[in-house]
C-alpha cells in the first residue's frame, strides 16, 4: 500500500514537471497582462524542435536550446501581434496553437519522412534519470529509504529544474524590481507608464521568459518523458497548465500545488483504469481526467474559493486616449 502510494507520487512528479514549467511560463505572461492560451502551441513546437535537433546532432542539450529558441520565437510573434500591434491576445494565441500543430507535422514529414514523427531517440540522446547520491544505499531503510530512493531520486534533470524554478520564480516575481514592475504592468499599466517604464518592453520580456520556460517544457516531453516527437504530443497539457495557473491564483507556490494535484489525478487515472473501488465501484477514467477542468471552472466561478486574475490581463495597452 505504502509502496504503491510512493510509486503514484513518483509518477505524479514525472507528469507534473512539464505542467509546472508551462504554468510558470503562463504566470510570467499573465502577470504582465498577456493572456497566454498559446502555452500549448509553444510547448508542442518546443517538443518538436528538441527532438528534431537532438536526432540530427545527437546532443540533447542542443535540442533543449533549439526548443527554447523556437518557443521564444513564437512568443515574439505573440508579442508582435498583441503588444506592438495591439491585436487580440487570445486570437493570436489561437493562431500560434494552430501554427504549432500544422508546422510541426509538416516539417517533421518533410525532414524525417515518418508521418510527422521524429526518429526514436536512443538513451544517450535523452535526459535520463539521475540517481541521487546514496539512493541505492538507503533503499532498504524502511519508509524514508523508499521515499528518498524512489520518490526523490531517479528523476531526470529537468524535473529537478522545474521544482527549483518555483522558488526562483517566486523570488523574481515578488522580490525583485523587475517582478514588481511586471506585476504592476498586469494590474495597472498606466501607472507603470507614468513612472517612465516601458510597458511594451516589460511585456515582451515576460513573453520571452514564458518562451524559455515553455521551450524547456516541450523538450521535457520529447526528450525526457518520451523518446522522440509524435504529432500533437502535448495533448492539452498547455491548457491543464493554464488551469493550474488559475487554480494557483497566479502565485508560484500554489501554482506548484495545482500542477501536482493535476499531475496526481493524471497518475491515479492510469492506475484506476478498470479497478473496482470500495463503495463507489468502478470510476470511469474520463471522470478523473476532467477533474482539472471542472475544478478550474468551479474555482473561477467562485464556488470553491475565488480566483481573480491580474486586473489588466487581456487588454492591449494604449498609451494615450
Amino acid at each position: 500500500m505504502f509502496e504503491s502510494l510512493i510509486l503514484i507520487l513518483d509518477a505524479t512528479l514525472r507528469v507534473s514537471a512539464p505542467l509546472i514549467l508551462a504554468a510558470l511560463a503562463g504566470l510570467f505572461s499573465e502577470r504582465s497582462g498577456i493572456v497566454n492560451i498559446a502555452l500549448e502551441g509553444k510547448m508542442l513546437s518546443g517538443a518538436f524542435a528538441a527532438a528534431a535537433m537532438t536526432s540530427v546532432t545527437g546532443s540533447v542539450w542542443l535540442g533543449l536550446l533549439a526548443a527554447i529558441g523556437v518557443a521564444v520565437c513564437l512568443s515574439l510573434i505573440h508579442g508582435f501581434a498583441s503588444i506592438t500591434h495591439r491585436g487580440d491576445q487570445i486570437v493570436s494565441g489561437v493562431a500560434i496553437n494552430m501554427l504549432a500543430v500544422g508546422l510541426t507535422v509538416t516539417l517533421g514529414r518533410f525532414w524525417f519522412g515518418l508521418g510527422g514523427q521524429t526518429p526514436a531517440l536512443v538513451d544517450s540522446e535523452r535526459f535520463l534519470p539521475i540517481t541521487l547520491p546514496g539512493a541505492d544505499a538507503v533503499a532498504d531503510v524502511p519508509v524514508l529509504g523508499l521515499v528518498y530512493s524512489e520518490l526523490l531520486s531517479g528523476h531526470n534533470v529537468l524535473v529537478y529544474l522545474a521544482l527549483a524554478l518555483v522558488p526562483a520564480c517566486w523570488w523574481v516575481v515578488f522580490k525583485t524590481r523587475f517582478g514588481l514592475r511586471l506585476r504592476a504592468a498586469g494590474e495597472n499599466p498606466h501607472a507603470v507608464d507614468t513612472a517612465g517604464i516601458s510597458v511594451a518592453w516589460l511585456r515582451y520580456r515576460a513573453l520571452i521568459v514564458a518562451g524559455i520556460l515553455t521551450g524547456i517544457a516541450g523538450a521535457y516531453l520529447s526528450t525526457a518523458h518520451s523518446a522522440g516527437f509524435v504529432p500533437n504530443m502535448s495533448a492539452g497539457k498547455g491548457f491543464i497548465a493554464l488551469a493550474a495557473l488559475i487554480f494557483g491564483k497566479w502565485r508560484p507556490v500554489p501554482v506548484l500545488f495545482g500542477c501536482l494535484l493535476f499531475g496526481f489525478l493524471d497518475a491515479i487515472a492510469i492506475r484506476l483504469q478498470g479497478a473496482e473501488l470500495p463503495i463507489v465501484g468502478e470510476i470511469p477514467v474520463q471522470a478523473i481526467e476532467v477533474l482539472p477542468y471542472v475544478l478550474t471552472v468551479l474555482l473561477l466561478a467562485g464556488f470553491i474559493g475565488r480566483a481573480v486574475g491580474p486586473k489588466a490581463v487581456g487588454q492591449p495597452y494604449v498609451k494615450s486616449r
Binding site: 501581434a81 489561437v94 500560434i96 509538416t106 514529414r109 518533410f110 481526467e289
Partner: protein, 376 residues
C-alpha cells in the same frame, strides 16, 4: 477617428484582402520550404476543390460546417464575447442529433425526424454554451477560459458515452450503429434528382441549405431586430449599452445560447449528413476554423459564406494535395489557417496605419493639385 480617413470600401474589402494576401504569401514561403511549388499547389487545390462535381460537393460539405461554426463565433463576437468553445458545443450538438436519430429512426419518417434533430442539435449546443454564459454573466468568470475547459469536458464526456454506453456489443471501435434510411439527411445529388437534374455523388447534403438559412436569420437578427441592436451595442461599448438600459447579463446568456445552438447544428451535417452514426472526434477542429472564418468574414453573414467557401476549397483542395505531393498532407492546411488567423485576426490592425497614411497622402496630393489649378 481612424476609420474616417479610410474610405469604407477599403476598410470592408481591401484591408481584409490584403490580410489574406499576406497570409497566403507566408504560406507560400512554407510551401517552398518543403519543396513544393506554391503555384502548382494552388492549381492542384483549386482543381481538386472546384474542378469536378464530386470535388465541389466536398467543398460545399466542408463549407457547411464552417458556416455554422463561423456564424456561431460571429454572433458572440458581435456582442464582444469570444466563444472559443465551438468545438465542444458542436460535439454536443452532434450528440443530440445522434441520440435523436438512434431513438426515432425506426418509428418516424424523415420529415418528422428532421425538425426534432434540428431542435436537438440546437438544444444540446446551446446547453453546452449556457453554463459558461451563466458563469460569465453572473459569477464573473472569464468566458474564454470556461469555454476552453468545456471543450475538454465535452470531449471526455463523449469518450465516456461512446465507450461505455453507445458502443455496439462485440465491436472494437467506439461507434454507434448506423442510422436507418429514414433518419439520414438527403444528399445534394438526391435533392437535385427530384428536379430531374444530376450531380455526382458527394457528402454535400440538405444541411448546406439549412446553413444558408441560418445566415439569413443571423443577418435579420443582428441588423433588423431590437435584440440585434442591443447585441451590437454591447459589442461596441458595454458601458454605453448598460447606460442605455440594456441588461448585459441577460443578453450575454441569450447571445451565447444562440452561438451554442449554431455550433451545435454542425452535428446535422456531420452526424446526420455524413457519417450516419455517432463516433468520436467528428468535430475535428471545425469549431476552431470557425474563428478564422469569422475573422475573414468580418462578422457578417455574407463574409462568412465567402470565407467558408474559401476554407472549403482549402480543406478539399488540401486533401487532394497529398495525392500529388508526397511531402505534404492536410496538416499544411492547418498552417494556412493559422496564418489567416494571425494576419486577419491578431495582426488586423497592423496595416490600418500604413493604409491610412497612404490615403492621407492621396488626399494631400489631390488638394495640392487643386491648389495649383486654382492658382493657374
Amino acid at each position: 477617428m481612424n476609420d474616417s480617413k479610410i474610405p469604407a470600401w477599403v476598410n470592408v474589402i481591401v484591408l481584409p484582402l490584403i490580410n489574406i494576401f499576406f497570409a497566403f504569401a507566408f504560406a507560400a514561403i512554407i510551401f517552398v520550404a518543403v519543396d513544393v511549388n506554391p503555384i502548382e499547389a494552388a492549381q492542384v487545390m483549386v482543381a481538386g476543390a472546384l474542378g469536378y462535381q464530386e470535388g465541389i460537393g466536398y467543398t460545399m460539405y466542408y463549407a457547411t460546417n464552417f458556416i455554422f461554426t463561423g456564424l456561431a463565433v460571429a454572433v458572440a463576437f458581435s456582442a464582444g464575447l469570444f466563444n472559443i468553445g465551438g468545438e465542444g458545443q458542436a460535439y454536443m450538438g452532434g450528440l443530440g442529433v445522434g441520440l435523436a436519430c438512434l431513438a426515432l429512426d425506426h418509428t418516424l419518417p424523415f420529415w418528422a425526424i428532421l425538425p426534432i434533430t434540428m431542435v436537438a442539435s440546437m438544444a444540446f449546443g446551446a446547453l453546452w454554451a449556457l453554463i459558461p454564459a451563466y458563469l460569465q454573466a453572473y459569477r464573473g468568470s472569464h468566458i474564454v477560459i470556461t469555454t476552453i475547459m468545456f471543450n475538454f469536458i465535452a470531449s471526455a464526456l463523449m469518450v465516456y458515452l461512446m465507450v461505455n454506453v453507445l458502443k455496439l456489443d462485440g465491436q472494437m471501435a467506439p461507434v454507434s450503429r448506423l442510422f436507418e434510411e429514414s433518419a439520414i439527411m438527403p444528399a445534394f445529388h438526391e435533392i437535385v434528382a427530384w428536379f430531374g437534374l444530376s450531380f455526382s455523388q458527394s457528402p454535400m447534403n440538405l444541411s448546406f441549405f439549412i446553413a444558408l438559412g441560418c445566415c439569413v436569420l443571423v443577418w435579420l437578427l443582428l441588423w433588423r431586430t431590437r435584440w440585434g441592436f442591443a447585441i451590437r451595442a454591447m459589442g461596441a461599448s458595454p458601458s454605453a449599452a448598460e447606460y442605455g438600459g440594456i441588461n448585459s447579463k441577460k443578453l450575454t446568456i441569450v447571445v451565447m445560447l444562440i452561438s451554442g445552438a449554431l455550433s451545435g447544428m454542425l452535428g446535422l451535417n456531420e452526424v446526420q449528413g455524413f457519417s450516419y452514426q455517432l463516433k468520436l472526434d467528428f468535430v475535428a477542429g471545425y469549431g476552431f476554423t470557425g474563428i478564422a472564418v469569422c475573422l475573414i468574414g468580418r462578422n457578417h453573414p455574407i463574409g462568412i459564406i465567402l470565407a467558408s467557401l474559401l476554407f472549403g476549397v482549402l480543406y478539399q483542395g488540401g486533401a487532394e494535395l497529398s495525392f500529388d505531393f508526397p511531402n505534404i498532407d492536410r496538416e499544411m492546411i492547418q498552417v494556412v489557417q493559422a496564418l489567416v488567423v494571425l494576419f486577419s485576426g491578431a495582426l488586423s490592425l497592423m496595416l490600418v496605419k500604413p493604409t491610412e497614411r497612404f490615403f492621407v497622402y492621396l488626399d494631400q496630393k489631390k488638394k495640392a493639385a487643386a491648389k495649383v489649378e486654382a492658382g493657374a
